[in-house]
Symmetry: C2
Subunit: 343 residues, 2 copies
DNA sequence: CTGAAAGCGCTTACAG
DNA sequence: CTGAAAGCGCTTACAG
């Protein structure tokens, strides 16, 4: 205990200095790999560090340097496949670079609530990665104060969505376009769409890709059905679509939605793919094992997370190269749930 | 810029003091809600804070106080349902308490690798929550240095697994016991088990509950089949079990495993539940929407995460009450995948 | 009720 | 090559 009431847990730079018989500045030089330290001095310091089990205090380092090796991921969700995989990718890359990773959840898209979360994330020091796939995320990205290092993970952008801020994306517009074309090529007259909540008031990238494919094929454009994020929403949407006998092909905004649609069609007595074809989005781990196994399009979310971190890392270390922005090309995976329409 | 090269981003306690015409100590008192500040002074300071957009620097606070409002979750995985839900629960509770939450992934159970991760987590300051459901997590919990605030999320413990450290658990031994009894009560001669990797070299809690139910019923005890964590492993295990015509009931260590088993039985032409009953573990979001929908046992993982944080919070604020340790009672959910054995 | 001092554990120029 | 000083932005006793 000293005057300010601290109990000293571990040893400090000064303890090491005392043990090595040098000043603490010299210890600082050694732990920072500064070249101008005599070899014998360095060795004595290193020995003392080892003996005392010294670890440099990250908090003090951050305060003295004015920045910390930390990144916090701001996201509306941590459990859905896409979000969770991006977080996983960020963590992998951050760990490799010896950065700590924090996570802040945006529970509401409400302006005040979002601002509070962004502030909290900013308070943590370090940089920010914002997953802007939904209204809360988009708003968060917009409200990051200028000067704070941030990269956005965004949907396929119509135009640059974040001003001059760096961002990464995987081409889900293209992906939606590809799956829709796949279904049309099987002979379906049109493809219905069960949508995930869009990131903005306007059309989402996935909806856009689907619509474009229909347009090019001269197919009718049925209104998208809103499905939410999970199987329950997909189930409700599926029951609705099952009532319409003209529906022969359904594209879903993600694989969980597709799972619910599959179930709804089963309950309605409509066979897949015999009477209705179903396709998902993301290629979640379970999709290959459903019965029928799910036709879907694979997106590299962990790669996206790694790319987001790499970009942020460049910004933080001020060695930022012109980074690639489109991370990967989506891959169509055709399985049992899609086939020719009934004759 | 000043002598040490810092560029001052936002305003400090001193700027506020200057603007309010008081000393910075008084500002400190105001932001800490200290009672002995004259009302008029307080108002002037508050006005200055508002005007300058002052936010107290969390790093400096942590350094001065010697501890930070932070928790880091150490886990082998962030995407599997149980792990992801625990993390979600921790984040919810931490956010409500204005704690920041970090996450560190234990990619290997290797002793050196685990130690590195524990050290990194400790460096972040604040407390630790370790998910000890697997060898990496168990080892991490063991190697947390004494004196560091930590709570473990553990399997049903045979005896106190972490010495004097606080821990929380949900009763998965009981859960396994219940599902097994459910299957036996339907008339099955015995129940086969597809296991998730155990947390230690010894029997896991789930395996133990299953075995106990068999023992009490005088049923034969077939050797557990190792399935790993995901549907692919379940699929392989399912194909193996499908070859044995005497198998009429299969319990799986989690719902993803069950999904793979369901698929394997389908491929082998064995109907569920007509010929074989299948039950899972966890009640993941998709399980109710599978065809057949999955009989399983619901575990409250987010509640577990919240409880872990509450316990840690108590430890950190030194107001630790004797906390409840068993968080919730598992709930059997009977759906379509279980039924009577074939005649 | 309010201010001046010392300290948290580190870094960055500045001297020698 | 190495040491003494000043500073990061805050808090905690200590004086008045």
């Amino acid at each position: 205990m000293n005057v300010t009431g601290h109990t000293r847990g571990s040893s400090s730079i000064r303890d090491v200095a005392a043990a090595a018989g040098v000043s603490y500045q010299t210890v600082s030089r050694v732990i920072n790999g500064h070249p101008s330290v005599r070899q014998s001095t360095r060795e004595r310091v290193l020995a003392a560090i080892d003996e005392l089990g010294f670890r440099r205090n990250a908090t003090a380092l951050a305060l003295a340097r004015g920045r910390s090796r930390a990144v916090t991921v701001l996201t509306a969700n941590t459990t859905h496949y896409g979000y969770a995989s991006i977080l996983q990718g960020v963590e992998e890359a951050a760990r490799a670079a010896a950065y700590s990773v924090g996570v802040g959840v945006l529970e509401s898209a409400d302006e005040a609530a979002v601002t509070v979360e962004v502030q909290r994330a900013a308070d943590a020091g370090g940089g920010l990665i914002v997953i802007a796939y939904d209204p809360a995320g988009v708003r968060a990205l917009e409200s990051v104060p200028a000067g704070l290092p941030v990269v956005g993970v965004v949907e396929t952008p119509a135009s640059d969505p974040t001003g001059d801020r760096p961002w990464v994306w995987t081409d889900d517009r293209e992906a939606a376009y590809e799956v829709t074309r796949h279904l049309l090529s099987l002979g379906h007259e049109t493809v219905h769409y069960v949508a995930i909540p869009s990131s903005t008031r306007r059309t989402s990238a996935r909806t856009g890709g689907w619509r474009q494919a229909l347009k090019e094929a001269g197919a009718p454009e049925p209104p998208p059905v809103q499905g939410g994020w999970g199987p329950a929403g997909g189930h409700a949407a599926g029951l609705e679509l099952a009532r319409d006998p003209s529906v022969t092909a359904v594209l879903c905004g993600n694989d969980d939605l597709a799972l619910g649609v599959l179930r709804a069609l089963h309950e309605a007595g409509r066979s897949v793919p015999g009477e209705v074809s179903v396709a998902g989005f993301d290629d979640a781990p379970h999709s290959a094992y459903l019965t029928p196994s799910l036709t879907t399009v694979r997106l590299d979310f962990t790669g996206l997370g790694r790319a987001a971190f790499a970009l942020l890392h460049g910004v933080l270390e001020e060695s930022a190269p012109v980074a690639p922005r489109r991370v990967s090309v989506p891959e169509l995976v055709v399985r049992e749930s899609s086939g020719r329409p009934p004759a």
